[in-house]
Symmetry: C2
Subunit: 591 residues, 2 copies
């Protein structure tokens, strides 16, 4: 029952240094092939793979046993490390110049044929991979994702510790706060009819820790949102959650940049530039049509609203006159796009609400365009000049409400960036996007909603706007963006009770509602609250980018599907009536 | 709005080195007193406290402002560090030889009078402390608990990382497994009538990671149990969860010892002895009446069943003949205990089911005892000799079923250890308790239940007992015990499908039930499972012991009360009908 052959070395770490040594390996058979009186097999453990050889000469007994070896059997083997014949060297393998001649074999456990090959770059249906997640995780590229994840959290933790941030655990069973996304609820057994909520973030608790004078807090914290899942969302996700007091924002941002620089250096071996580029939200939207621009390529949006306002094209003119925008991007060298290609782009921007995509092709022979006839030559020249149009370029325009223009052109920019291969995939472009709007008007709810969250401080100069024109107020809020992904976001928080109360009022809370939900925070603010702020990084996404994966699910050991189920355990599942009764609830699905 | 005076130094870190320097401090006013034209105040931040002084001479403006200072105001101050007059030196304060003459004061935020003093060793009702937790956490001794907690997890993480353990996050939204404690449930919105459960431990997932070949895993993981809370339980708690493959158990235990030695060295400055003492479960029960003995003092249980069996005292004899035990402890020097004192001890053991407490006082003049008359002098001499009784000693006996004898005398031993001051509070006695029973018979449920959990491997030699006499089988299970607390426990796991199936059967699962609940694990076992095992440490309790606290709640930032509520946020709370409807449940408390 007990294993007798205890590992002396890890497979992937054997080198020519060990030639002549007797070693014991523990691991999985990853391949076996027979060749004229010899049995070869690869043994795999967490460190990698090495080839072993059985031959009657080395050990009759081991050779005989080896005959039963199949893929994924668990073995312990003892043998001598030798140099391979030059013609059998495998340069694709780190241990490819050596092999181990086996004198003893212990088959620790057998294995059925796995439902898919345990190797990288295998095309396997993801549902099957998730059902047999324990086999999927055996694939070296999957294992590597978690090694990177471990390393990144280690580097961040050490950095934060060195900078005197203290890791504090906050509750998972906490209070439901309807503001924000939908909560996961947990019925209370002790208090019939009451429910805990799983935290959407540790926001309130980290702010309370600042009131407590912890000054520098962090936590790598699980958070929960019961939302309909898109490809890049999971019901539970992990935040690197950080909060600090007294530290000026710019010092804090510098610190966060240093942390990311350290991660990039140690994980990717890359020196990234600090300080990061800073873009205001307004500039990011105006230039890239996005608050998380991928700055690895230009293809910026150009505003021609002013030209459009005075032009003879009624469509442009009308938009310009009704507070709309007319903006364009210059698809360099796409002047020869076919009608079909342009139609495809038009259909693409339609997804984002654009009613049309005007185009101007600049050729050596002048301008080709379906809208040329609506402009004077002077106007056309003005536009082409504004767009820096050269012969061979295709200029693409959307005229609409600002939101539609940004969504349509921002996404068109990304599409063309990929299609035209403008993106240097080896680049890691970090930047800060700052000065987000504080609130926006929700026409359905007929009230303002917080863009970041209700605890975000307005810019000092904009505090008076809370009373006069809240939609114009900018917040001390900032996102960290990497290659077109928001990898982290945060803000300086309100620390004065009167501003916080004003903010709740603005967001449509009655005094009672504010007290009911956030009374403890408002009360805490009365007992000496320091100026504070912080941010949270989305760890899953960061790992996804660093490992070059396309899905968050590849960076979470046991993820959920888009219907929030676990293919492996079949959670969620039915529970007994006894359990429900103890929790004072019943299900109503059949009513 | 923004703070102008940015911290240059931390209060508690100022020393005579800074004399003459102009410094800026940020923090809280912790005391203020006026003395003949001077205003003194203590400023506190996370690092400690320093005294500041206002005087018209230094700054008229700051002095005037200082008049409004109250406790817990948040301030930024600028001033010059000076040496205090010798007669005003405060030796109780690390910074007690210096003070700061203030030339600029910025009152960042004001504070109401706190409901209790922000200082150590204050007698405050715990419910009030929990309601104002953010103030309670300002007390330096509370802050220190979390500093220790941060340090301990850092040391453990670094140690585990150095030993190639990989930290992997496992799901919080998982499947309910009725075996074990009561689950917290989370209704699914997407699958009406289905529920997730919050994990009682990551047990199944860490075993699956071993099947995946991760080989060395750890996680500092939040776990949940919906049980009625005793003083030392919380609905959510934190485990340092560890699992490894291929490593021989003794090597693993050595590693865990080294980890604890490192924690003790770095946190307490104490060199503890390795390897730890090892006691089998049977020996621990027999000698200490406990499977988590406090070995800082002797006062061991002595077995006199054999003597009792052949004695003339019918009570002893009957017990000895019905598979019971007669055991005693020798309360050294308590021979003069009054009848009242002995009655109190008798009442104490009665709590543990003992029907009586026999006693023999050994005096210079011979033996005094209520039961002396039932023995021959020879028998009495035998007993006194077996107990190593000396004049002045009080010998105390319980005769009953083994469980009652162990519970009663084990607890009596702890009581006397404290009363007689036998415990050296500066000692940290670590030990392993090993070879626990695998299962025990549950007379109510009429089936065996797992003592550790259903995945625990029996001792190799005891595997045949599964078929013949399961209650006699011992497990490859071990606890780490410190000063009478179980701080961690674990086992080697079953990794063969046939033994695991046999185990489930033994525990009363039908084949269908086993498949329904643990099918994915049984299936995983068919694809090449390595020998593996591990353990989990109770982090909250470990921190409690290391900080010398009496309650787990002092080591958890935002704990729950005994009724599983949060005094601060009032969680759990009512939620809207809309929320419940979305989750396809309704409450039944009023039916």
């Amino acid at each position: 029952m007990s294993v007798q052959l205890h590992r002396t070395h890890q497979c992937g770490k054997l080198t020519e240094q060990q030639i002549g040594e007797t070693v014991v390996l523990n691991g999985w058979i990853s391949k076996r092939r027979d060749l004229g009186g010899l049995i070869f097999a690869d043994v795999r453990d967490r460190s990698g793979i090495v080839q072993i050889v059985f031959n009657e000469e080395f050990s009759k007994e081991a050779f005989a046993k080896a005959d039963s070896l199949r893929s994924e059997f668990v073995v312990a083997v003892k043998g001598t490390v030798i140099l391979r014949d030059p013609e059998t060297v495998n340069m694709n393998l780190k241990t490819g110049t050596i092999e181990v001649q086996i004198i003893e074999l212990d088959i620790i456990n057998m294995a059925k044929n796995p439902p898919f090959f345990i190797q990288d770059q295998v095309e396997v249906d993801e549902m099957l991979r998730l059902k047999y997640r324990y086999l999927d995780l055996r694939r070296p590229e999957m294992l590597n994702n978690f090694q990177v994840r471990h390393n990144v959290t280690k580097i961040m933790r050490n950095f934060l510790d060195e900078n005197e941030f203290m890791e504090v655990e906050t509750p998972m069973l906490t209070k439901s706060t309807p503001e924000g996304a939908r909560d996961y609820l947990v019925p209370s057994r002790v208090q019939p009819g009451s429910f805990f909520a799983l935290p959407q973030s540790p926001q309130l608790f980290k702010q309370l820790l600042m009131v407590s004078g912890f000054e520098r807090y962090f936590q790598i914290a699980r958070c929960f949102r019961d939302e309909d899942l898109r490809a890049d969302r999971q019901p539970e996700f992990t935040q690197v959650d950080i909060e600090m007091s007294f530290l000026p924002l710019s010092d804090f941002q510098t610190m966060m940049e240093q942390m990311m620089a350290k991660v990039m250096k140690e994980v990717k071996g890359i020196d990234i530039e600090v300080p990061f580029q800073r873009l205001s939200y307004d500039d990011a939207m105006s230039r890239y049509g996005s608050d998380k621009p991928d700055t690895r390529f230009a293809l910026e949006l150009v505003d021609i609203t002013e030209i459009a306002a005075s032009c003879s094209f009624k469509v442009f003119q009308a938009v310009a006159e009704s507070k709309g925008l007319v903006k364009g991007i210059n698809a360099k060298g796409c002047g020869e796009f076919s009608r079909k290609e342009i139609d495809d782009l038009t259909a693409y921007v339609a997804r984002y609400g654009a009613k049309g995509l005007a185009w101007i092709a600049v050729t050596e022979d002048g301008i080709k365009s379906q809208i040329a006839k609506f402009f004077t030559e002077e106007e056309l020249n003005q536009i082409v000049k504004a767009m820096n149009g050269q012969p061979g370029d295709l200029l693409l325009f959307v005229a609409d409400k600002p939101k539609v223009v940004y969504d349509a052109l921002g996404n068109l920019r990304l599409l063309l960036g990929k299609q035209l291969k403008l993106i240097d995939e080896s680049k890691y472009n970090f930047l800060w996007v700052t000065d987000f709007p504080l609130v926006e008007w929700d026409a359905d709810a007929k009230r303002y909603v917080a863009l970041h969250h209700p605890f975000t401080m307005p810019l000092d100069a904009d505090v008076p706007l809370l009373d006069t024109n809240p939609a114009q107020a900018k917040a001390k809020a900032y996102d960290m963006v990497l290659n077109g992904f928001e990898i982290g976001g945060g803000s300086m928080r309100i620390y004065q009770k009167d501003i916080q109360e004003k903010m709740f009022k603005l967001l449509g809370f009655t005094e009672e509602e504010a007290k009911e939900q956030f009374g403890f925070l408002l009360e805490a603010f009365e007992y000496g609250t320091p100026p504070h702020g912080g941010m949270a990084f989305g760890l899953d996404r960061l790992i996804m980018i660093l490992t070059g994966r396309q899905s968050l699910r590849d960076c979470i050991a046991f993820p959920k599907t888009a219907s929030a189920t676990c293919q492996l355990t079949n959670a969620p599942s039915q529970v007994s009536n006894k359990q429900l009764k103890e929790l004072h609830i019943k299900t109503i699905q059949f009513e």
